[in-house]
Amino acid sequence: MGRVYQGHPGIGTGLFEGEALVASDGFSARYDVDLTKGVFSRPAHKLHGESFAERIIVLDIAKGGVASAWMLRVLMQGAHRPKALILNWANPIMAQGASFGEMPLIDRFDCDITKELKTGERLRILPEEGRVEVVG
């Protein structure tokens, strides 16, 4: 079996698989991404220009104001939706937005998860258990 990382029980039910897209940077649904094109659009973001469609986004902390609670739903109902979000630290607004938008979310690992996972690795995640497996 591949590497396994244990976070806090997260948001979402079931099992999700996808390719990791990783950076040591924050995540704001309002300021960092172009929802219609499905790419990271803020020039200063470390994933600038990267498509998140069908991928599991792995970043450091949740950023952005209260308004972003509505916006994860827009993200998840768009044509370029990601598979899931993994963070070192979420915040109330990100958790609320993930629940409302039905976006699987796991955070709070005992390591810096952005240092452990690599872009391109294939992940399998179980949000209810807070479990992340590297499967390829």
Binding site: H8, A67, A69, A95, Q96
Partner: protein, 410 residues
């Protein structure tokens, strides 16, 4: 998590599918933060301008609005944050009609749910101030920090979907600032300066906010001997904007300050006059061009509107520069009645109601009006507006008005 029989029944559909979904959302968020139970909340405040909602969010609200009244109505007093456009004056600042149409759809859907369209981020000054210990589901960060800190009420940052879920169930998850243990101070801040203009208060809030590491940090501020509601409004709104901070204590002023430290040693920082002045210096530029002067964020109280009118009396905003102030419909009505609106508008200013500059499609406004250089006395606006393509600078209300009259930064 332990639910009461009533909560469990709602979760299982006894009060209809909309309330069941709302309860499931509250339980899911609560589990994420290890809440052991729910609390009963007595008011909800929803942040749901169309800039945040988008077409998807408006369509979601319309879906709720189509349900039976008994299934869809909110069960506690539920009010709204500022909207994305002033229905009475949108053409004065070239707001796109499409934005107004979307706002009208959102308004109609909210009203069908029984939501009161207060359109305000100063509800704590103008609608129904919370009381100590009252559990709330409040949205806007400036509203949350004021309610927690100045009144000793209890709320987390509730985004629009969560505030609406609470409005439909009268519940919120018991984590964060609903619990005694999270309301104690984690940092001491010693202030060694006299604060004068609202900008001083906003700058101090910004400096404290950016020194806080997370949502769960609580500063304990010493060295402030007196303050009024407008001053604490600017102070808290800036702190929340820069720091995601939801609660502060001020020694000798706020209701929970006496128990906040509890004899514990916590890290200490000092801030002096030079620190406060350095905040405005960050935004100083060589050229003195100016496009728009904004008094908002948070919306102005009646007192601030009167002060603004006093600065503008007998003067005239120069052609080519726009001066905008925003307030809520209640204060606009009072300003109309008392002649304050006329004094502001006779000087060439524009007083808008039910909107606030950080959530009224500022990017589209900049493009439609050719605005780039923005001047304000709001530290919170300065923090957020650069992301919309503006080059902001901050100054006192008096200097902002002097600049609007001169047509350049003075």
């Amino acid at each position: 998590m332990r639910l009461t029989d009533e909560e469990d029944a709602i979760l299982n559909g006894s009060a209809g599918p909309i309330r069941a979904r709302a309860m499931a959302h509250i339980v899911e968020v609560g589990r994420f933060f290890d809440a052991e139970r729910l609390v009963e909340v007595s008011q909800a405040h929803i942040m749901a301008d169309t800039e945040a909602l988008g077409e998807t969010g408006v369509a979601y609200l319309e879906g709720l609005a189509a349900a039976d009244w008994e299934d869809r109505r909110v069960v506690i007093p539920t009010i709204t944050d500022p909207r994305g456009a002033d229905f009475k004056a949108y053409d004065r600042i070239r707001h796109d009609r499409a934005i107004v149409t979307l706002e009208e759809r959102a308004r109609d859907a909210f009203m069908a749910l029984g939501v009161m369209m207060t359109d305000t981020c100063i509800n704590y000054q103008t609608i129904m101030p919370p009381v100590k210990g009252e559990h709330l589901a409040f949205g806007d960060t400036g509203v949350c920090i004021y309610s927690n800190s100045v009144f000793g009420a209890r709320t987390n940052y509730e985004g629009g979907p969560s505030a609406l879920a609470s409005a439909l169930t009268a519940r919120a998850p018991a984590y964060g600032f609903h619990l005694d243990r999270n309301r104690r101070a984690t940092q001491r801040v010693i202030v060694e300066a006299e604060l004068a203009d609202y900008l001083d208060w906003g700058a101090l809030g910004a400096l404290i906010g950016e020194r806080m590491g997370s949502y769960f940090e609580v500063p304990y501020v010493e060295g402030i001997n007196a303050a009024n509601s407008d001053q604490l409004k600017h102070f808290g709104a800036a702190m929340a904007s820069y720091g995601s901070t939801a609660l502060y204590h001020v020694a000798g002023l706020t209701p929970e300050a006496d128990e906040a430290l509890d004899g514990r040693e916590v890290p200490e920082i000092k801030l002096n006059r030079a620190d406060i002045d350095s905040y405005a210096d960050r935004f100083r530029r060589e050229d003195d061009t100016l496009d728009v002067v904004v008094f908002a964020v948070p919306q102005l109280s009646l007192i601030e509107l009167g002060e603004l009118a006093g600065h503008l009396d007998g003067r005239r905003v120069v052609d080519g520069t726009t001066l905008i102030a925003t307030t809520n419909p209640e204060m606009k009505s009072a300003a109309d009645r008392m002649g304050i609106t006329k004094r502001i508008e006779d000087a060439g200013g524009i007083l808008l109601e039910g909107v606030c500059y950080y959530q009224m499609h500022a990017r589209e406004l900049a493009e439609a009006n050719g605005w780039h250089r923005l001047m304000t006395n709001s530290a919170k606006l300065t923090n957020t507006i650069a992301g919309y393509g503006y080059a902001p600078m901050v100054a006192s209300m008096a200097r902002c008005v002097d600049s609007a009259v001169a047509g350049r930064v003075v």
